[in-house]
């Protein structure tokens, strides 16, 4: 397979996974900011959303206030934000079009029509900051559906060869990165001292974190008790059965990298690094993580994941 084809296919997955994450993040945050002030400290909510989405640096170039309308418009619809949802869909489509022959007809038609719908939505809503909640919810549902269907079409129609492996690799790696970003922004809410502070304010913050990685229901199934911060951290970092946990994502990353290595008959730096990160997660306990510092742990993880992404690019995608 052409190195560029692998690169494109991998990025289609990453962009669509990112779009899905952003949609969930916006949803969860609008929910918390709709609560009466007594239930949630919301002044910083939208700033932390900007940080979690990585848009905090460019946002001030275009807006003065980080309020709901502005942040939502910037994250969801703004063409000037390189990783806005609309750009993610557009880039995903551009990447898919560049490798039109590597994706199946179903996948291509789906992403092409999603792009056409996006265009249509934009022509109906020319002013992003003026989009009402109802239209926004409709849009976010459409985004989540787009990602799920693309995944589903891939699952049902693709040959299980390197093309498929690179597509899956993109999803897993992007997911790991997104979960880590949420943890990085909200880690102070999960620190043990918050337990004593307690109260409803933090409860809603915790549930927001869970919602942003669609883990609220899962939480209850796994722990069968009310939301506790260390459980939230445990679920998002170490639970193998939770599909967006760091460990689960790395299980997938290793799996797909190994599949690629096996097909080509050669394993390299990318496989080695991925396995090392996975081993580290497997060997960790939530207690130790809190003892040695949650923030440091997540920071280190993000750095290592970036390093892995470069190794993958070097080994396969640049050719």
């Amino acid at each position: 397979m052409l190195a560029r084809t692998a690169d494109n296919i991998y990025w289609v997955s990453r962009y669509l996974e990112r779009a899905d994450f952003l949609a969930r993040l916006i949803e969860a945050s609008s929910r918390i900011s709709a609560l009466p002030t007594a239930y949630a400290a919301k002044q910083d909510e939208w700033t932390s959303v900007l940080i979690a989405s990585g848009a905090d640096e460019t946002f001030p170039d275009h807006f003065e206030v980080a309020n709901e309308a502005n942040v939502t418009a910037y994250l969801a619809f703004d063409a000037r934000n390189p990783s806005s949802i609309r750009n993610c869909i557009q880039f995903a489509r551009t990447n898919a079009r560049a490798v039109r022959t590597a994706v199946t007809v179903e996948m291509w038609e789906h992403i092409n029509s999603a792009w056409l719908k996006l265009k249509n939505f934009e022509s109906q809503h020319p002013e992003p900051t003026a989009i009402d909640r109802e239209a926004l919810n409709g849009f976010l549902d459409f985004v989540k559906e787009t990602s799920s269907l693309y995944d589903g079409h891939g699952y049902r129609t693709m040959l299980r060869n390197d093309v498929y492996f690179f597509a899956r690799l993109g999803v897993s790696l992007e997911r790991a990165d997104n979960t880590a970003r949420v943890l990085d922004v909200k880690y102070q809410l999960l620190l043990p001292e918050n337990e004593t502070v307690g109260g409803s304010v933090d409860y809603f913050q915790w549930s927001t974190i869970l919602r942003s990685v669609s883990a609220l229901t899962a939480y209850h199934w796994v722990y069968r008790e009310s939301i506790k911060p260390w459980n939230v951290a445990d679920l998002l970092i170490l639970r193998p059965e939770m599909p967006r946990s760091l460990l689960s994502c790395y299980g997938e990353v290793v799996r797909w990298l190994d599949a690629i290595g096996n097909q080509y008959g050669r394993h390299g730096a990318a496989q080695r690094q991925a396995r090392a990160i996975k081993r580290k997660l497997e060997g960790a306990s939530i207690k130790e993580i809190f003892q040695s510092g949650l923030h440091e742990f997540v920071d280190g993880f993000i750095t290592e994941t970036n390093g892995l992404a470069s190794a993958i690019a070097e080994q396969y995608l640049l050719g």
């Binding site: 052409l2 190195a3 560029r4 692998a6 007809v105 056409l116 995608l317 050719g319």
Partner: protein, 475 residues
């Protein structure tokens, strides 16, 4: 009574025998059916993403070429005549290119003025003294054909560089079989779907002579923002070959490789859809990123075949076109089977004088223009447009040729208001391999959707039709 040859009626009350079933169907089909099928076709085309980009049109960066659901018919006898003419013409084109970049006999014989060739931008000095592998320069040619009566075929233009449109020929056929299976079944239509196999076989046969085993073939595209990108990816898919961009290729010691996830892989044949100018920044435009540095070195060393060969564009130059009857006679000793449209070469003073006096009746074309840009259709032009062209002609007569406004034939076409005749042309695709010439029966019929318009180019609002070559004769 129309002054044009209508391919269905030929001006009579009763349709030509060939079109009998089509005429019946048009009489009996309710108008809503045609409308419904037309809309269905558009939805399907948009969904699979068959679009083309129009240069200089930001708003509609990706547009659909309108598809007309009424097929255009040719009888087997008509096709046989046309096919023989195409084979003859493409043979002559290849011999002409071999000669120009070789011994230049035709110039020595005084049949073509030297300056017409060597002052031409399409002549590539880099290719002088070189031979194309197997002496094939134009592996894929698109010859634009028009009819003005039920006898002769006229060549409007030869396309020897990177002719596009073949994906429409194939997709239009798919669409017809999907939308009007009954009508299709009533006719014995000769198939075109083996075109990709033919193309692959031709490219394979054109591999460098010493290439071992199964040659590695790729299609080189300028990328997804090119107007014909859909076609490039379509062909790569149908041929089962990689669609590469310049940045996927690397040349080391005169051998071309593509970068894959498993390292570098040697490439033997490149069906390139990138213009000469952009092929190699070391030889042609230094700022080009669409080709690969060193590609020409690899080509000249005989390690890779480029289809079509660099420099082949010389043969489809509109000024060279006017000499085609002489070119065919010179190399093949035969008369041209396909007619040339009468052409005035504005470089000749008498012709220029005539053209300037008859601008309002003639079609004036830029010698190096393509795609319907930079062209004057006298009878449809405003006074100002004519005046602008008069000035252009006076400034640079060598740059233009003129032709009579042809009475292009018409075919029934389904439009929002009903069925009406519209002007059409035909682009059959001729494949040249080391093992002979291949042509599938059919081609791309382009139709000018605007009433009275003679410009069929997609960039100028033209549409396409499926072309049915029937097993029955027209006469």
């Amino acid at each position: 009574m129309s002054q044009f040859f209508d391919e269905m009626t030929n001006g009579a009350a009763e349709p030509r025998a060939l079109y009998r079933r089509i005429a019946e169907w048009l009489r009996s089909a309710p108008p809503e059916l045609l409308d419904a099928r037309r809309e269905q076709a558009e939805i399907l085309f948009r969904k699979i993403g068959i679009t083309f980009a129009v240069y200089g049109d930001k708003e509609a960066a990706e547009r659909l070429i309108p598809f007309d659901i009424i097929p255009r018919l040719l009888g087997r006898d008509e096709w046989t005549r046309l096919e023989a003419g195409l084979v003859q013409r493409v043979k002559a084109l290849n011999m002409f290119l071999t000669d120009i970049y070789g011994r230049q006999e035709i110039i020595k014989a005084g049949l073509i003025p030297q300056d017409l060739i060597f002052r031409n931008e399409c002549y590539r000095p880099e290719m002088q003294g070189r031979r194309a592998p197997h002496d094939i320069w134009t592996h894929i040619a698109g010859i634009d054909i028009v009819r003005i009566d039920d006898e002769d075929f006229y060549v409007l233009e030869d396309n020897c560089r990177t002719p596009s449109g073949v994906s429409y020929m194939l997709e239009d056929r798919e669409m017809m079989m999907r939308l009007l299976p009954g009508l299709f079944a009533q006719h014995a239509v000769l198939p075109v779907d083996n075109y990709p196999d033919n193309l692959l076989a031709s490219l394979r046969s054109a591999a460098p002579p010493h290439c071992p085993g199964d040659p590695c073939i790729v299609i080189l595209t300028p990328g997804q923002f090119n107007s014909a990108y859909y076609e490039h990816s379509f062909l790569a898919d149908k041929l089962g070959v990689e669609l590469v961009e310049g940045r996927d290729l690397t040349v080391r010691d005169d051998i071309v490789y593509m970068r894959t996830t498993e390292g570098e892989k040697r490439v033997d044949v490149i069906y390139r859809r990138v213009d000469d100018d952009f092929l190699d920044p070391l030889v042609f435009r230094p700022d080009s990123v669409l080709g690969a540095a060193g590609l020409m070195g690899a080509y000249l060393a005989g390690n890779v075949t480029l289809a079509n060969a660099p420099g082949a564009g010389l043969a489809d130059d509109k000024a060279v076109y006017t000499y085609m009857p002489e070119i065919i006679r010179f190399y093949l000793g035969e008369d041209a089977k396909l007619k040339n449209v009468r052409t005035w070469r504005c470089r000749e003073p008498d012709a220029l004088k005539y053209v300037l006096e008859h601008l309002s009746e003639l079609v004036v074309k830029e010698v190096n223009g393509s795609g319907g840009y930079g062209m004057l259709v006298g009878p449809h032009a405003s006074k100002e447009q004519i005046e602008t062209f008069r000035q252009k002609l006076l400034r640079d007569p060598d740059g233009f040729i003129a032709q009579p406004t042809l009475s292009l034939s018409t075919c029934p076409t389904s439009l929002p208001g009903g069925v009406a005749p519209r002007h059409v042309d035909l682009r059959p695709f001729v494949l040249c391999g080391a093992d002979g010439v291949r042509i599938v029966p059919g081609g791309l019929t382009r139709v000018a959707l605007k009433e009275g318009s003679l410009v069929v180019n997609s960039s100028q609002g033209g549409g396409t039709k499926d072309t049915w070559v029937l097993a029955d004769n027209a006469k």
